[in-house]
Amino acid sequence: MLWFANPANFLWLANRLIPWLAGISAAVLAVGLYLAFFVAPADYQQGETVRIMFIHVPAAWISMFCYGLMALAALGTLVWRHPLADAAQQAAAPLGAAFTFICLVTGSLWGKPMWGTWWVWDARLTSVLVLFIIYLGLIALWRTIEEPALAGRAAAILTLVGCVNLPIIKFSVDWWNTLHQPASVFRLGGPTIHPTMLWPLLIMALGATLLFLTLHLMATRNEILRRRLRRMSILAVQESRAAPRAEGARG
């Protein structure tokens, strides 16, 4: 684990893992989409509209998984001040925002024909919207503070504070009377979904997770290289300023 935490080792490993992960993600998603469209039956109540769930649920899962990953990275930034943790956290935020956006819009596209409305201020929908706003806030924070180390620490603190929203999202359907249905996959009594729909859903969730991990590795690699570029640019400016002074001292 410590070997992997070295940015140079991370780049070496990421360059080898990314093509394989990308290929496996594409294959798993292709199988998942085939099962979702050609094997899973139409729901007895939702009809064909249930097919939106095969992207809505994995997007919702990734939106929370990504935030959990960022919270772990935030601990790495604050406790060990590790540069890779900060880079990983910064790289994850736009991906988390994108998956949360997919979750919100696909949910809305499902809600209109099923509930008769695009949106309700129900606890689950509102808490996911708050998660999306937190992602946008974190992205803005990184762009506002120029010094990466300072921005990283501020973002880490905000990320950990925002963690309080994760259990609210998960348990909102139990704590409050919501229009959104209660948990049907990850619950104590086991899934309530028929296997003909559960398996395509799980395979799509696996494919989305692999896709997220691939994109996160690629984005973290970019972030490490961007920081390297910044250091080199600063060094080049310092050297160009020091050169005339050395000439003057010699003359």
Binding site: W3, N6, A8, N9, L11, W12, N15, A42, G47, E48, T49, R51, I52, I55, H56, A59, P94, L95, A98, F101, I102, V105, T106, L109, W110, K112, P113, L211, L215, M218, A219, R221, N222, L225, R226, R228, L229, M232, L235, A236
Partner: protein, 51 residues
Amino acid sequence: MSDHAGYIIAAYGLTIVVVLGMIAAIVIDRRRIERALARFPSRGTDTDNRP
């Protein structure tokens, strides 16, 4: 399909656009950084550092 085909197509279409957008943004960003790093040839700009 069904009366709700438009909602299903819109949901999958939007997802494809967002995912392809994420991939394109990351790939374009990588190319831009590597072009900038190439200006510093003598300082170990190899992006595939072996451990």
